[in-house]
Symmetry: C2
Subunit: 294 residues, 2 copies
Amino acid sequence: MILLDGKKISSDIKTEIAEIVALFRKKGLRPPHLVTVSVGENAASQSYIRSKIKACEKVGFDSTNIKLDQNISESELLDVIEKLNVDPLVDGFIVQLPLPESIDEFKIISSIDPSKDVDGFHPVNLGKLLIGIDTFISATPMGILEMLKRYNIPTEGKDIAVLGRSNIVGKPIAVCLMQKTYPGDASVSVLHSRTKNLREKLRAADIVIAAIGKPHFVTSDMVGENAVVIDVGINSIPDAKNPGLTKLVGDVDFDNVAPKCSYITPVPGGVGLMTVAALLLNTLKAYKQRNGID
Amino acid sequence: MILLDGKKISSDIKTEIAEIVALFRKKGLRPPHLVTVSVGENAASQSYIRSKIKACEKVGFDSTNIKLDQNISESELLDVIEKLNVDPLVDGFIVQLPLPESIDEFKIISSIDPSKDVDGFHPVNLGKLLIGIDTFISATPMGILEMLKRYNIPTEGKDIAVLGRSNIVGKPIAVCLMQKTYPGDASVSVLHSRTKNLREKLRAADIVIAAIGKPHFVTSDMVGENAVVIDVGINSIPDAKNPGLTKLVGDVDFDNVAPKCSYITPVPGGVGLMTVAALLLNTLKAYKQRNGID
């Protein structure tokens, strides 16, 4: 069993990006610039944004954090986005979700210039994903693809079971892996709460991608020998060893599943750590496209 | 075994639409207006367009056929599209594919106002499809959904095998059927030329959607007892009974498969006939949205 080490890979990616950015600077080019937009004081959102900004600093990107008042109107937020859309010094930007209920998230995301949509949530970019046209892939699916790539895990002709059909993980990673590319060219099944014989279907899969948001849902009887298991879940549960505290666990019962696997991601330390690296890769890509760099 | 009768259903849909259009006229409203745009003299394209215009006439839609010269430039075609985008009397329009090689199809399709994209090929509409937001679904997937609906075929929790992963059938129908809607909420597998154990996978499916473009590819040993079989293939092969002539057959070996099925579509007379009806439904929908009619 080999651990798919999100810490190592994301660190490798950051090192590679930092080297590229250093080269840009040597050539007299400005570095890539990521802007984060957040509305209100959601503690989790602020923590995510801090880690994104920290990652930008680490690789040498410029970053700007626009923090907007909880009571901002939809049209004011649209104005902020329009300014970022036309600003030639902004390569990519993200609007941190969730937004206050008074604001239409889909409308906001649809107003982002798709060429700056480094979160990959704009419907144009999702549409391109579906038909296999190069685009910005959102952080979690892209993190999974990078992991498969960097461990040279074969996918062509493999049976991949995607457990969960969310808009940010299940459906996009499924359509990525059915394209005629690597990682991809697989036979992909999307399984979920309505699926019958779930145990058998998961057990028959060469690669299981668990993104159902239920702690320890995937048990060892649901996984075939030598399967590759990608655990996207990040669930907070009471920590038996430390009463009153919580701990993070995945959708997979790691301790019992891992011995059967050829590869498996730990939680924490797996896919979760890849998402910021994916955002950096997308920002670098947007920068290159904007500046005609190959 | 029950035949899924594309002729009957498409005729029913046309009758229903004609009644709705008659009501509009009674209220003094103009009828829906579909514009078809074609470039050059492709015989198949011209035949498709004729059938679309004929269907418009049948239901009482206005239609306009814009026939452009084979040598039109990309920018001239973009100008034509821009005029249609802003014309308040055009509810929906389609650009008949294929286009001459000198013209970038994706660019052309991306230039259509998504609210008039009744072919459902614009990336924004494909992106909405992926994340389950109401949109224009392209003709073949929509024809399949209508068939499932009008025969009340249960899909929730069913195992659906989609054979083929094209941009116009396999991938879009797969993502439709995995949404939490009816028809949908199914466990969907997308199978193709790289799939291993294809026979077993198809045989285990409750519903098979064959869209692989190979005549009589799906044989009776690949289909389970009481399966529902939707045959999207339209293949021209030599007609053994009429030497020198050809006949149309599907991707399914109908004669041998049909006796095992609970439902099956014939070819011709099945899904193929649904596509024009789907275009009419989309045009009606665009008209209603444009005019604020519920």
